[in-house]
Structures are given as C-alpha cells and as structure tokens.
C-alpha cells in the first residue's frame, strides 16, 4: 500500500487526534485502506478474462478533479469582475455548493451509508470513536480535494484582485460550506432512515438522491434570477425568501466586510452562514450513534411486497414487440430499469434536467424579449434540448450494479442478440424518454398552441432516430453486463459529439419551418428514415450471434 501524501500531512495533527482519545495509528491504517480502495476500480471478472487491455492503476477521483479545475476556470470572471460581492460570491458559492453536493451524493453516498465497515471493523478491537472519526476524516479528505479543485484557481485570482482579506474570508466560508453540505446530506439520510426500513428505504434514498441532484440544479437557476438585470449595475433587493437560499448567506460576509455595506440583511445572512453549519454539526454529532443504528435497517428486509399488475404495459409489449424473444427482453429490461437503483441514480437526474432544460433557455428568451414575443416565435424547438439526455442514458444501458448476472445471456438458448438490443432501446424510449416528452409536450402545447403538434411529432420521431444513432455506444457490450465502476467519465467527448447531432437536427427542423408544408413533409421523411434506420441497425449494429460476443 502506498504511503499517501495526504496521510503524511495528517500525521502533523497526530497529537490533536490523540488528545481526543483517538487511536491514531489504527485510524491511519483504516484511512490508508479506504484511500487505496477509492483509487481502484473493481476489475470485473469479465475484464480479467482478457477483453480489454489491463488499465493501469489510476485514481478515477484524481482524474475527475482535472475536470473540476477546468470548470472552475469559468468561475474566475465571476469572482474578479466588478465589486458587487454579494451577487458575485453568491453565484460562486451557489456553483461550488452545487458541484460539491452533487458529487457528494452521487459518488460518496456509499461512504455515508456504508454497512460493510460495521462487520469488518467493529468486530476487531477498534473503538467506535476511532472508526467514526476515520470516516469523518475520509469524507473531509475527499471534500478538501474536491473543493480545492473547484474553488482553488478562482480564489487565488480573487485574492490578487481583492486582497488578502478576501482569501481569509473565502477559506473560512468554504470550510463552513463544506460542513453545511456534509451535515445536510447526512441529516436528510438520517431522517429517512428513521422512518423507513429495508428496500423501501433504499428506494427512498435513491429518489432523494435523484431529487436532490435535480433540485440543486434548478435551484442554481433560481439563484441567477434572484437578481434583476435591469441595468448594468446589478441591484439587489433583499426580501424574506432569500433567507432560504444558503449561497446568499455565504456571499453576504464578502459584501459586509469588503464593501463595508452594513445592511441588517447582510449581517443576518453572515450570521446564518456562521451559525447554521455549526449548529447543524452539533446536531449531527449528537445524532450520529442513532444514525449508525438506523443504518442497519439497510440490511434487513421485512414486509411483503406486492406486485402491481400493469395491464397497459403488457398491452404495449404486445403492440410494439414483434418476436417472442423481443417481448421477453422487453419485460426483462423494463424490470431492470425500473428496479435497479444504481441505474436510476445514474440516469434519472438527467431525465429531471432534460425536463427543465428547455425552460431555462426559454426563460432567457423571455428575459431578452417579452413573453408574447416568445410565444409567437419558434422557441418551441427548445424541446430538442430534452433529447440531450439520450446519449448519456444509452451509454448507461450496458451497466448494472448486478452485472455479474449477465451469465444468463450465455446459458440461455438465444441465437441472435438483435432482439435484445431492440427491446432494450424500446424500453428506454417508453420508460425514460416518453414520460419526459409527454410532459413537455403538454406544457408546450399550452404555451404555443395546437399548431405545434406537427413539430412535436417530428421531435418524437427524431428522438427515436437519435436513439438508433446513439445505440452505437452499446456496440460490443450486452445490456446490463458491465459494472458501473467501469463507466468512464471520459465518455464526455463521445457524448459531446452526439450532442452536436441534436444541434443539426434542430437546425434542419428550424429551416423546414420556413417552407410551406415543410414540417409535414419533413415528418414523413424522418419517419421513413427512422423505420429504415431501425431495420438497418437491427441487421447490422445489433446483429451479433450470441457466441460471437466476447465477455
């Protein structure tokens, strides 16, 4: 095991830990193990049988930090242009909180909700205090790197611009922000854990994770709107509801101390920024033991489950699936996608965002012109933005938390795998895309009127075509057959290329709206192309003999 730099740094505080009665040597060992594990992706058994080249040991987390540093470059202007601290720093903290919290929920929930630790560590002569401190330090290390990556460069730039006192304030606020995030996340989990148990609980956590990711993203949109852009000097009108937006609390001290603006609101906001995280932490520490106890509920399963009879689903299956094999896999994929939490966690937030995205762009349009102007325009094409989730969601189809179950493909008597792919993609369209599309369509018809129905149909058919195009990402892999841990974040470029596709589709659609009957003709054309593409893909891209497939 490597000797981690981080741990060497931690050694400086050895005395401090020991004065709290913590067995530092043991804690350090636990941390070393945890860090080693974080740095590894589980090699899947399939991989070891020589499918891919062996990846050199790399820390996925450290790599992803690079991405955060890149994003942070966009924060530099937010921090250094102008002296409207409250506005700028609220935006800054809003983004930092958004990034840290989403990363925390999506990647680090397993640390907060770990139950393996109990069986492995608590049966050994290690006291509980040391274990929980090790856990806390582990999370802190992670948060430290994450926060440093996101805010480091902008804060340094800001320090050059605004002076050393800015640095002090920024560091202090960031510590408080992190405390706030960890505690809020843990407390939310705690309350859910308290009232529910077993599978139900995992489901709820799953939905909260999803809901949180979506709502933070939406909240971040609201933050931008908390200020009116009426004139170039951004004005800020304090009102009661801003008390509920934490980034504004953390932005307030900058205005208070650097601009010497001593409004009552600012003082209260600054106090909130200081007091809330501290109180929350104290509450959390008191609740920690009962949190741990409730955590055990994750393992036991009581209560009967009943199966809902889904008549319309079976009707739909018989309508849209041709062969018997396709029907079987349609039902299978339907169950997998609905039930697998890990899958939902990776995909549903994107669905939520694609529901919101079109409106974000439309709001900007309204801000530039008027609502009436937008309604009469072609902004309804913004619905194409909802298709942006397709490439990402499709790449996810090949992963599963229980990927090892994929041996059934091999042992089952199936000849050709094409029905598997087409069934999975159909489920994707019906279960994931269709709901988003229908909701958006209803709202859009409400806004723009019945006249856009043609266009909406085009959008739907295009989405199917787009799905077929994106199904190339599945090439060579069976659905639900790989570990999520192998999901690479570097899929970014591919997804970006695919997103360009949507821009092209939108462009064509926009162009045909200028031709009389253009949309109707285009609809027929797209429909024909889509049917053709589906059949073609069935014969080529998805057409594997089962025994040709490498595992």
């Amino acid at each position: 095991m490597k000797n981690f730099q981080t741990l060497r740094f931690l050694d400086l505080f050895r005395r401090l830990f020991e004065s709290f009665g913590i067995n530092y040597t043991v804690m350090r060992k636990i941390l070393a193990v945890k860090l080693t594990m974080d740095g590894r992706r589980t090699p899947t058994i399939f991989n070891q049988q020589g499918k891919k080249k062996k990846k050199p040991e790399e820390n996925g987390f450290i790599k992803s930090l690079g991405m955060y540093v890149f994003i942070s470059l966009f924060l530099i202007p937010v921090v250094i242009f102008g002296k409207n601290y409250l506005f700028q720093m609220s935006i800054f903290f809003g983004i930092v909180m958004f990034m840290v919290m989403t990363s925390m929920i999506s990647d680090f929930s397993n640390v907060l909700l770990d139950i393996k630790d109990k069986g492995i560590l608590q049966t050994k002569p290690v006291d509980k205090k040391t274990i929980s401190v090790a856990k806390t330090v582990h999370i802190s290390i992670y948060l430290f790197f994450l926060t440093a990556a996101i805010s480091g460069v902008p804060i340094i730039a800001g320090t050059f611009k605004h002076g050393i006192f800015f640095l002090v304030l920024a560091l202090l606020s960031l510590i408080l922000v992190n405390l706030f995030i960890v505690v809020v996340t843990a407390l939310i989990y705690f309350f859910i854990l308290r009232y529910f148990d077993g599978e139900k609980l995992k489901d709820i956590i799953n939905y909260v994770q999803i809901g949180l990711s979506v709502s933070i993203a939406i909240g971040y949109q609201i933050l931008g709107r908390a200020f009116s852009f009426v004139d170039m000097n951004i004005t800020f009108s304090p009102s009661w509801w801003q008390f509920f937006i934490p980034p504004i609390w953390f932005g307030a001290p900058f205005e208070l101390f650097l601009s010497h603006n001593t409004s009552v609101y600012l003082v209260i906001f600054s106090l909130l920024a200081l007091i809330v995280p501290v109180i929350a932490t104290l509450v959390y520490i008191r609740m920690m033991p009962s949190f741990e106890r409730n955590l055990q509920k994750l393992t036991n399963n009581s209560g009967k489950s009943k199966r809902k009879d889904r008549k319309w689903k079976s009707w739909l299956t018989s309508v849209i699936c041709r062969s018997n094999e396709e029907k079987i896999f349609f039902r299978f994929a339907d169950n997998m996608m609905r039930n697998e939490r890990e899958f939902r966690l990776k995909v549903y937030p994107a669905l939520g965002l694609s529901l919101v995205f079109p409106f974000v762009f439309m709001f900007n349009a309204i801000q530039m012109n008027s609502y009436a102007h937008m309604v009469s325009s072609k902004w309804y094409l913004a619905i194409y933005f909802s298709s942006l989730m397709i490439p990402n969601a499709i790449t996810m189809l090949k992963y599963s938390g229980k990927y090892k179950g994929a041996w059934i493909y091999k042992t089952a008597p199936i000849q050709n795998l094409a029905p598997v792919y087409s069934a999975v993609l159909k489920v994707f369209i019906v279960n994931l895309f269709l709901p988003v599309y229908l909701i958006l369509s209803m709202i859009f018809v409400g806004i723009f009127g019945i006249k856009i129905i043609d266009d909406l149909l085009v959008v739907f058919v295009t989405a199917i075509l787009y799905t077929v195009i994106c199904s190339n990402y599945l090439k060579g892999t069976l659905p639900f057959s790989e570990s999520f841990e192998d999901a690479q974040q570097s899929g970014g470029l591919k997804v970006l290329l695919a997103s360009l596709c949507i821009v092209v589709f939108t462009g064509i659609h926009f162009a045909v709206t200028f031709i009389p009957y253009g949309v109707t003709i285009y609809l027929v054309l797209v429909l024909v192309i889509t049917i053709f593409a589906w059949k073609l893909a069935y014969k080529t891209v998805w057409n594997y003999k089962n025994n040709e497939m490498e595992y």
Partner: protein, 261 residues
Amino acid sequence: MVIEEVVLCLRDLKKNYGTKNVLRGIDLTVHRGQIIGYIGPNGAGKSTTIKILLGLEGDYSGKVEIFGEEVTEKNIDYKRKIGYVPEIAELYDNLTAMEYLTFIGELYGLDLQEADEKAQRLMKVFGLEEVYHSRIASYSKGMRQKVLIISSLLHNPDLLFLDEPLSGLDANSVMVFKEILAVLAAQGKTIFYSSHIMDVVEKISNRIILINDGKIVADGSFNELKEQNKEGTLEQIFNQLTGFNEYKALAEEFVAIVQEV
C-alpha cells in the same frame, strides 16, 4: 483449581427488533476447549446472538460475559482474543489479499511484517500463494472464504465464531479445515460453530445447541441428544425439535410441479 475456565456466559439474553422478539431468554455457559455447534432454522436468532457477542448489536437485555468481562460499548479489548468468520463473505475486495490481511492483522495489533509473513505462509498452506498480490474481487468463492478464515485466525484468537465457514470450500479444503478446528480445540481454543450443514456439525462439535424461535430447545453432546430424541441423525433430531415433518410431502409437490410442462 479444577474448575473449568468459563469463556463465554449468557444470562437471560433477550433482544427485540421493534415488536419482533428475536431472542427470548438465552442462557448459556461455554467452557474452554469446547466446539459448540450452534444450529437452528433460518430466523431463529443464531446470527443475532453472534452479533451481540461481537458487540455489533446493542439494545439487548440480559448479561453477556466473555472471558469473565461484561461486553459493553466501551470495552473493546476482549475482541483481541476473538476471531470471526461472518456468514456473508464481506470484505474489502478491492484490496489484494496481502493488503487486506495485513490490514486486519494490524487492527488486531500485529505489526506489518509479522502480519505479512504470517498471512503469506497461511495463504501458502491453502494453496493461494500465487494470488497473494491479486485483488480479492477476482477470487472464486472458495478462495474468498479461505481469506476470511485466515483473517479470523491471524492473531491467534482464543475464541472463534464461525458462521457457515465451509461455504464454497472444496472437499479437500473442508477436511483440512475440520482438522484445523480439532487441533485448535485440543489446544484449548473455544469454537462457536454455526451452520446449516448438519452432518458437519454432528461430526465436529462436542456440544450441540439448537435454538428455535429465540430459545434454546436442545443442549448437549450428539449422543445425549440422540438418546433424548430417539432419532438417528442430527438432521432428524433437528427436524423433530423444530416441528418440521412435512419434507416428503413438500418434495413430492415440488417435483410434481416441475413435471407439469
């Protein structure tokens, strides 16, 4: 003194999850050098007892003493003398066997070199020296089980809790392991063996405790149980004491359903 050393002592141990009573008053005294076969149907409370003994579960009533000391949250030192093989092979499988075993050894207070050397030699005995530096995630079920067994014995414990320790092991390894247990017991180690495989329990235990529905329903050596219950095998005694006698009918029904195609 001739009095046998008491290793483990439970007095009126009760535990409930909400309204469900899992343990309804367990009284048990275990002496040094015994191999206890701890058996019972699913959900009878076997794992809960073991978890309480290891300090994994709190909120119980009654008295739990190990090596003469009461088990409390604060008292962790008794765990130094305990080894544990859990029922579900939970381990940090992103680590290599070397990393995992030295880590566990160090937690028990061995130093790194000592743990490493010992682990490597034990792995070699089990025929796993070649994968010592591979990740546990790539191991077969039997290999993982061997790692778990080694991790429970590295620190030379006086009391062993084994929950289904043979799962996944091949017949030869089972023989080796059974022999290991016999030798350990002869040297005065106490073994608490929990399993569903009655034949093994029958052969290796010198005292069998059967629990059903949170209570001890039988306690004694195999021969004693046989005399009391007039049945030939432990399996039959188990069926009788847990009130299960419809296995034939159920099996026939099962096969009948399989054959309807």
